[in-house]
Subunit: 503 residues, 2 copies
C-alpha cells in the first residue's frame, strides 16, 4: 500500500511539474508582451496564450487530477510536506474551478474582456454610466460564484481568500477601522501644519540614463541578483518570477520626477528579492511563488518605503544620488532632502499617493467592495459613495469619475478582494520590521553603511524561502508571535510624520 | 461521407494549431535564451524546453495523429490545399519519428549533447582525437537511421532531404562539380593578380552605436518591418520567425570591423523579410515557415551579397555610411570602397570567408559527408582529407584541427546534409536574381535610388508568401522555368571579380 502511494505521489509531482512548465512559458510570454514584443505578432501570441492557459486549466480540472486528489488525500501522512501542500493547492484550485458551470465561466471570461475595454473608454470620457452595466454584471457573476463556492461568516470572505487566504472581514474591519481613525486624524494635523517640507528640488530635470545608473547601483547593493534577473523599461512596472533563477523587474522613467523610477525600482526589487530567495526545492510545484498578494506587497513596501525612505538609508546614498543628478541637490541638505521625499499630501489618485495617505485609498475600496457583496451598496450609487468617502477621509472630493471611481482597472478585470492586500502589506511589513529590530538591533547602522546582507538574510530565512509552503497568517504568527496588528504601522507613521511636520 | 471528412479536417487543423502554439512558445524561449535570459534560470528553463518539445514530439507521433493521417490521406481531393500540404508535412514527420526505435532515439539525443561539449573541448585543445569516437558514433547512428528510413539512389539523399527536400546527390555532384572547377580557377587568377584592392580603411575604429544606427537605417529602407520584429545583440547572430508578425533578428558588433554588424544585419534582414511575408493563412500550420534551408539562405545571401555588396547599392548608402563613421572613409572614393568590401582571399575559416571562396568551403564539406555515408571515407582520416582538400581547392593548408576539421559545430550536433544548403542558397539567389532582372529591368536604378519596394514585392510574390506550401525545387522551377543551374552564379562571380581584380 505504502509502495503504491509512493508511485502515485511520483506521478502526481510529474503531472504538476508539467503544469508548472506551461506556466513558466506563459510567464515568459507575459514578460515579453510587456517589454517589447512587436505589435503585429500580438494577435497570434494571444492565441498561444489561450491554448497554453486552457491546457493548464484542463489539467487542473481533469479526471486525472481528480484521481490524484482522491488517492492521495487519505494518505497525507505518507507524503512529503511539499507534496502535501501541493496537493492542498491543487485541491483548492480544482474545487474552485469545478464548481462553476463551464458555460457560465466562459460567459464571464468574455464579459471581463469587454468590461476592460469599456472601462478604458469610460475612463477616457470620465463617464461612469458607460461602465455601470458591465460592473453590475461583473458583481452579479461574482455573487453567483460565491454561492457556488460557499462562504464562511461573510460572503466577501470568499473573495478575500483568493488573494489573502485566512484573512476575513472580521479581521479587516478591526485593523482597517483602527488605521482609518488614526490616519485621518494625522492627515488633518499635517494639512494644518505650517512646517511643510520644500519639494521644489524634486522636480528638476534628471536625465533618464542617470536615473537608471543610480537605480541599478541601489538595487545591486540591496542584493538583487543580476545573474537571476534583469531590469527593463515598461509603461506599467512589475516584477515577475519566471523561476527563482529568473526574476525580472521593469520600471519607467519621468525626467521631471526621478522618484518614479528610483522608488519604483526599489519597490519591484523588493518583490524580486522575495522570488529570488524561494527555496529551489519548490521549483516545479505551485508553491514556488510568494504566498499571497499581501505578503508580497509587504516585501516591496518594506524596501520602497520603510527602508528606502529612511533617513539612514539616504545618509548612505545621498552623495551618490547627487553625483548622478544634474546639480539640483547641491544646496539641499540631507535633512531637507529627507523631508522632501517624505512629503504627505491628500490626493485623489491611489497610485500617486504617499506612504501615509495610501492606506486610506485602500480602505475606501475595501468598504465599498464589502458593501457591494453584502447588498448594502448598489453599483449605480458608486460615484457618489466614492466621492463622499474621499471627502470624509482625505478632505478632498473628486470632481470627475476619471479621478474618482474609474481610476483603477481592477474591478473591470473582475478582481474583487484584491485591494486590501496593498494595505495589509504595509501592516505586515511593520510587524516584520519590529521583529527584525529585535534580532538586528543595529538596523540603523546597517542602513548607514549600506550593509543590507543581514536584513536580506533575515527576510529570506523568515519569509522568502517558504514560498507558498506557509500561509500568510502562518508566516506572520510564526515570525512575530502575533496576528494582524495595526498598531505597529500606526506608531511608525505617527513617529515619522510628526517629526517631519514638527507636530 | 464528405460531411465527415470536413469534421475530421477541422479537428486535424485544431490539433495542428496546438502543436504550432507550443512551437511558438519554444521559439520565444529560444530567442530569450540567446538575447539575455538570466544565467541562473537556464537550468530550469531547459526543463521547460524539454517538456514542451516532448509534448510536440508525442503529438506528432500519437495515435490521434496516426488516425488523422489514415482518415484524411484517402480523401485528399476533398481537402483544402493548405490542409493537404499540412497533412503531407505531418505524415513525413510521423514516418521519420516512428521508424526509429524509441530507445535508440533517446540514446542518440544523449550522445548529441555529449558530443557538443566534447567538440567544444576538442576544438579548444585543437585535438581531433578527442572528438573522433563521438563523431564515429554520430555517423553510425545516422547510418542506422538511414536504414530505418530507407533511401533512393544514394544513402546521403535521405539526409539531404531533411534540409532540402528533392535535392539529390546526382544534382549536387553536377552543380557543385561545375562550380568548384570554375571557382578554383578564378581564385588562382585572383591570387596572382597584382591589382589587389586596398582594405586598410575597413579596419579603423567605428563606434558600436554608430554601426547600429547605420544598420537600422539600412534595414528599415530594405523594408524590415519593425512593427513585426526587433533587433537585439547576441554572440551568434540569427533570425527567428516566431510568427509572421514577430520575426526577430540579432547581430554582433566589432568596433574594428564594421562589416560584421552591417552585412550581418542585412543577412538576417534577408531571412526576416522572408518570414515576415509568409501568407497569414498559413499561421497555425507547419507550413508557416521558410520552405527549406537553401531557399532561406538564398534570401539572406541575396540581400547580404548580391544586393548589399553591389556598386549601385553603395552609390545610395555611401554618404550615409560616411556620416555615421569616424572619418575613415573621407578620402576613400566609392570605387575604392566598393573594391575593398569585395576583397576575395582564400582563408581557412568558413564563417569568415568571402562571397567567392565561400562555396568552396561548402563543397569540401559536401564531398566529405557524401564520402562518409557511402563508406568511402572513415572518420579517423578526416583531418588529413580535410586539409588536403583545402590545399587543393583553396591553395592553403590548415596547420591545426581547430582551424581545420573542428571549426564547425554542425557535425557535433548530428547535422549531416545541412551544409549544402549554404551553397545552394547562392545558386538559387542568382537564378532568382536573373529572372527578377527580366521583370525589373531598372534594377540598378532601383538600387541607386534606394527604392527596394519593387524588389521586395517581387520576392514576396514569387517566393515568400508560399512558406512551405511549395517545395524548394517547385519554387525554383515555377519562378525561373529551370532546375538547379550553377551557371548563373558562375557568370555573376566571374563578371564581378574579374572587374574588381582587373583580370
Amino acid at each position: 500500500m505504502e509502495e503504491q502511494i509512493k508511485e502515485i505521489e511520483k506521478a502526481f509531482l510529474t503531472y504538476v511539474k508539467k503544469m508548472s512548465a506551461y506556466q513558466e512559458a506563459l510567464a515568459l510570454i507575459y514578460w515579453d508582451l510587456r517589454t517589447g514584443a512587436p505589435k503585429k505578432g500580438i494577435g497570434q501570441r494571444s492565441q498561444v496564450i489561450g491554448l497554453l492557459s486552457s491546457e493548464v486549466f484542463q489539467m487542473s480540472t481533469s479526471e486525472e487530477m481528480a484521481a490524484f486528489i482522491a488517492n492521495l488525500s487519505g494518505a497525507e501522512n505518507e507524503l512529503s510536506d511539499i507534496t502535501k501542500k501541493t496537493l492542498q493547492e491543487c485541491k483548492k484550485e480544482y474545487d474552485r474551478n469545478k464548481k462553476i458551470p463551464r458555460e457560465e465561466y466562459e460567459e464571464y471570461v468574455v464579459l471581463q474582456s469587454q468590461a476592460e475595454s469599456v472601462w478604458e473608454e469610460a475612463r477616457e470620457k470620465s463617464d461612469f454610466s458607460l461602465f455601470q452595466p458591465y460592473l453590475e454584471k461583473l458583481v452579479a457573476f461574482n455573487k453567483k460564484f460565491i454561492d457556488y463556492w460557499g462562504y464562511e461568516g461573510n460572503k466577501y470572505n470568499t473573495l478575500l481568500d483568493m488573494y489573502e487566504p485566512g484573512v476575513t472581514v472580521e479581521m479587516l474591519d478591526q485593523v482597517f477601522g483602527q488605521l482609518r481613525e488614526e490616519i485621518v486624524a494625522l492627515v488633518k494635523e499635517i494639512a494644518a501644519s505650517p512646517n511643510k517640507p520644500d519639494t521644489s528640488f524634486l522636480h528638476k530635470p534628471f536625465p533618464k540614463e542617470q536615473q537608471k545608473a543610480f537605480s541599478l547601483k541601489v538595487i545591486e547593493k540591496l542584493g538583487y541578483d543580476f545573474q537571476a534577473g534583469r531590469l527593463d523599461d515598461t509603461v506599467h512596472p512589475f516584477a515577475i518570477g519566471i523561476n527563482p533563477g529568473d526574476v525580472r523587474i521593469t520600471t519607467r522613467y519621468d525626467e521631471n520626477d526621478w522618484r518614479m523610477a528610483v522608488f519604483g525600482t526599489i519597490h519591484e526589487c523588493g518583490h524580486a528579492l522575495y522570488e529570488q530567495h524561494i527555496s529551489k526545492e519548490l521549483i516545479g510545484t505551485p508553491l514556488c511563488t510568494g504566498t499571497s498578494m499581501g505578503i508580497h506587497e509587504s516585501q516591496s513596501l518594506f524596501y520602497e518605503n520603510i527602508l528606502g525612505r529612511d533617513y539612514s538609508f539616504w545618509k548612505h546614498h545621498y552623495d551618490s544620488l547627487k553625483a548622478h543628478a544634474a546639480g539640483q541637490f547641491d544646496h539641499v541638505s540631507l535633512e531637507e532632502f529627507y523631508r522632501g521625499i517624505n512629503e504627505s499630501k491628500a490626493s485623489l489618485i491611489r497610485i500617486e499617493a504617499d506612504e501615509l495617505t495610501y492606506p486610506l485609498h485602500i480602505i475606501i475600496r475595501y468598504e465599498i467592495e464589502k458593501g457591494l457583496f453584502n447588498d448594502e451598496i448598489e453599483v449605480k450609487d458608486l460615484p457618489k459613495i466614492w466621492n463622499d468617502k474621499y471627502e470624509e477621509y482625505l478632505g478632498i472630493r473628486p470632481t470627475t469619475d476619471k479621478e474618482g471611481v474609474l481610476q483603477d482597472v481592477h474591478w473591470a478585470g473582475g478582481s474583487f478582494g484584491y485591494f486590501p492586500s496593498y494595505a495589509l502589506g504595509y501592516m505586515y511589513a511593520m510587524q516584520f520590521k519590529n521583529k527584525m529590530l529585535e534580532d538586528l538591533p543595529h538596523y540603523d547602522e546597517l542602513l548607514e553603511n549600506g550593509d543590507y546582507g543581514p536584513i536580506r538574510e533575515w527576510l529570506s530565512n523568515h519569509i522568502h524561502q517558504y514560498g507558498k509552503l506557509k500561509k500568510p497568517l502562518e508566516i506572520l504568527e510564526s515570525v512575530t508571535g502575533e496576528g494582524l496588528n495595526a498598531s505597529h504601522l500606526i506608531t511608525y507613521l505617527k513617529d515619522k510624520f510628526q517629526k517631519i511636520y514638527r507636530l
